[in-house]
């Protein structure tokens, strides 16, 4: 690539088994094909996993725009094999940790093997060291954050849930959780990897700064004028979307059995705004300020996002900010994925309602908080709550109340029937879908960038595959998905070219997205995680309950045609050759 300021052209291999690390130079063409972040993540995972599955590689990668100063350029990607699905797991992280990694001189870290005792990785301008983490093991989030602040380094780490190898465990970055982590905290726990501390050398040097500023005037105008940013994300955070989804009656309430209740509005962005003073928190160089802090019980805490509110508030019917924030804080302290935990709580409430056990009841925030605190001593649990909703459903043989389309991935945010394309996306996503995983929900429910009839399946396969490719390309650049509310493909492509000096074409960028998407699907295929287009019984019952149906098989066939896939969900030989994957 022309501009080595944006691509370091090298990665760091860290072998935890032998506590050694080495730099590896990657060929230029890999960057042209995969760009970075999510693309580089899946490429490197493939390379290392299929060379030796025992390595169980964990790839952490940044994109060319991470830490570049581009608006929204703050994302990094973690790629590994999911402990929940057995397939590929791609988790996007935001915040300053990724920025520091980008400034440290590596495009990716590939962590293989398993340490014999707890370790942490320390990356500074002086070098990389794998150090003993005995003094950190057992420490919770607030303690690790104190430690990293003293050391003046950014930390990505597991808390006690990860150490205990709970399937619910996720990572903490900058005091916030990586939502829908796919059990990534457990992978770290298995590897005895407590934390990665990073302190980058210096911000990326930008050549032709004046030219960049001039080129970016239009982009910043679009960002600063877009009401999604100025009147939504910037004021309430993404929980500001809740009121609209309530109006559309697509909220997941009472373990998905309701799609609206007036009580849900107690958890709207407006309600949060009235109850607390929200302090906007900006990621590096981003004008959107979608994150907020608030003071809760005298402490400054992260305001819950829409995903968190829907998982811990709407679904278990806990319509109280007090309990919701307290439970979320406890999740952060222990490093628990609120999506998985919220689904487990909701299922436990349903089990209690059915009289199968007395665990806790709908809306009982205090009991839910107590239960969350007790996750530290999960061995005293009578039921396998600490193993997540799937195991809990298995224990009670109650799969008709388990809302997972890809086994292991809990649905969150919206009713699965909220839109035809959204429903299809839950099957097609390589990692099981989630809030804004393909951006189709923004199109179908919010009319951004254009309104479509959300229940009409006819045109959805084409739109979905195109936006999946676009969203994947955005991930590969290291950009935040929320930029897609304001910028189209051409404008995102312009950002890439302005900051790197490359001459990518929009269609080329889309092709990169398609390549990554296909490679992730191929990896899943080899990991025996194949796409099954048949609804689980819980989803079938749900559709009957709400009197909605989609011709999912027809939609799937149309989707395969758009993608150039065979019916089993794998690219045809011609398609894979075209994408350079054969």
């Amino acid at each position: 690539m022309n501009n080595s300021n944006n691509w370091h052209l090298k990665i760091l291999e860290i072998d935890l088994t032998n506590c050694i690390s080495k730099e590896v130079i990657l060929p230029d063409e890999i960057y042209s094909l995969y760009i970075g972040a999510r693309g580089l993540g899946v490429y490197l995972f493939c390379k290392y996993y299929f060379a030796n599955p025992q390595w169980y590689p964990l790839v952490i990668s940044v994109g060319p725009l991470t830490g570049s100063g581009a608006p929204g350029g703050v994302c990094f990607t973690l790629t590994t094999k999911s402990t929940l699905t057995g397939g590929i797991n791609t988790v996007a992280g935001r915040g300053n940790w990724g920025v520091e990694l980008a400034w440290s001189g590596y495009d990716a870290l590939v962590i293989t093997g398993k340490a014999k005792e707890p370790v942490y990785i320390d990356i500074t301008c002086k070098g990389v060291e794998v150090k003993s983490a005995f003094h950190l093991w057992g420490k919770t989030t607030s303690e690790i954050l104190d430690y990293s602040n003293k050391e003046n380094k950014q930390a990505l780490f597991i808390s006690t849930a990860g150490e205990n190898r709970l399937p619910l465990a996720t990572l903490v970055s900058g005091g916030d959780l990586l939502i829908q982590g796919g059990g990534i905290g457990r992978v770290w726990g298995e590897k005895y990897l407590k934390a990665i501390f990073v302190r980058g050398e210096a911000p990326r040097k930008l050549s032709k700064l004046e030219e960049i500023k001039k080129e970016l005037v239009g982009i910043y105008t679009l960002l600063n004028k877009n009401p999604v940013n100025t009147r939504g994300l910037g004021v309430f955070g993404d929980v500001g979307f809740l009121q609209w989804f309530a109006l559309k009656k697509v909220l997941p309430i009472k373990n998905f059995s309701l799609s609206f209740t007036p009580d849900a509005l107690f958890l709207s962005g407006e309600a949060l705004y009235k109850e607390f003073t929200l302090y906007p928190h900006s990621c590096y160089a981003c004008p959107i300020n979608c994150q907020h802090h608030l003071y809760f019980q005298g402490r400054k805490v992260v305001a819950p996002s829409y995903t968190v509110v829907s998982a811990l508030g709407l679904n278990p019917c806990i319509f109280s900010w007090h309990y919701l924030i307290a439970i979320y804080e406890e999740c952060i302290e222990q490093g628990i994925d609120p999506v998985s935990w919220g689904a487990t709580l909701s299922l436990a409430m349903r089990i209690s309602e059915l009289g199968l056990a007395r665990i806790l009841f709908w809306g009982k925030g205090e009991s839910a908080l107590e239960l969350t605190k007790k996750l530290k001593e999960y061995k005293h649990f009578s039921y396998p709550l600490h193993l997540g909703s799937k195991e809990l459903a298995r224990h009670f043989n109650l799969f008709e109340e388990l809302f997972q389309i890809r086994p292991g991935v809990d649905l969150v945010g919206l009713q699965p029937w909220a839109g035809a394309g959204y429903f299809l996306s839950l099957f097609t996503s390589p990692y099981g879908g989630g809030w804004l995983s393909s951006f189709i929900e923004a199109i179908e429910l919010m009319g951004i960038p254009k309104r479509v009839s959300r229940f009409s399946p006819a045109t959805r396969a084409g739109i979905l595959s195109l936006w999946e490719n676009f969203s994947t390309a955005v991930d590969a650049l290291g950009l935040c998905r929320y930029l897609q509310f304001s910028l189209n493909l051409e404008q995102i492509n312009k950002l890439l070219n302005v900051f790197t000096g490359e001459k990518f074409q929009p269609a080329q960028l889309l092709l990169v997205g398609e390549r990554i998407w296909n490679l992730e699907t191929v990896v899943n295929y080899y990991l025996q995680v194949k796409i099954k287009v048949s609804e689980p019984v819980s989803i079938k019952n749900l559709f009957t309950h709400f009197n909605i149906s989609y011709p999912i098989e027809e939609m799937w066939m149309a989707y395969c045609k758009f993608r150039g896939w065979q019916e089993e969900g794998l690219g045809s030989r011609k398609k894979l050759l075209e994408l350079g994957l054969l």
């Binding site: 004028k225 009401p227 999604v228 009147r231 939504g232 004021v235 309430f236 500001g240 979307f241 809740l242 009121q243 609209w244 709207s268 962005g269 407006e270 705004y273 919010m446 009319g447 960038p449 254009k450 309104r451």
Partner: protein, 190 residues
């Protein structure tokens, strides 16, 4: 209410006062307003294209409302207007490049809209500057033209604000043709 919105939206489009996705209009309902959705097709509105927004409080519905919603809010807060129509009438916009005040010369225009101020702002689309100054002008005139951009009309009824918009464009058209034909005006006149 939807029928009223559909009628005005369709007529604005058919009269060529907006392109397929431009323009917006609203009505006031107490401390709320109903405005067309951002990027909606005024010629083909559905119930989903009408967005209810609070006039005074922070409201997440502002995300979906027209880009000009702040201008509408400001006008309602500071004038007795009950309806607002914002359109991009081509003749009026074209004349706005050359006039500081548009003074109709046709009989009906002279009667209804003797003087239409043309206002200049640094930014014209969804700008806070426009939101700040338009209430002042719209408390003196029922319709104004924002240079290079379009018209804002107010009324007690949606139809009234719509009528003012079509009257403005009609008068501007006559003014334009008059200027175009003025080199010949002495030739055929007896």
């Amino acid at each position: 209410m939807i029928e009223e919105f559909q009628l005005v939206g369709r007529e604005l489009f058919l009269a060529g006062l907006n392109n397929s996705h431009s323009g917006n209009f609203s009505i006031r309902l107490g401390d709320k307003l109903i405005i067309t959705r951002r990027g909606s097709m005024l010629g083909n509105l559905t119930a989903e294209d009408l967005i209810e927004v609070h006039l005074w409080e922070e409201d997440s519905s502002l995300i979906y409302a027209s880009t000009e919603v702040e201008v509408h809010r400001s006008i309602y807060r500071n004038t007795p207007a009950l309806s607002i129509v914002h359109a991009h009438p081509p003749y009026a916009v074209a004349l706005s490049f050359f006039y500081d005040t548009i003074e109709p010369i046709d009989a009906e225009g002279k009667y209804f809209l003797p003087r239409i101020p043309v206002i200049t702002t640094k930014e014209t689309i969804g700008a806070m500057e426009v939101a700040r100054i338009l209430p002042y002008w719209l408390s003196k005139y029922r319709i104004v033209v924002l240079r290079e951009h379009g018209s804002f009309a107010i009324g007690d009824f949606l139809e009234e604000a719509f009528q003012l918009t079509t009257s403005l464009e009609h008068s501007c058209k006559i003014l334009y043709f008059n200027k175009m034909f003025s080199p010949f005006k002495e030739v055929n006149r007896k």
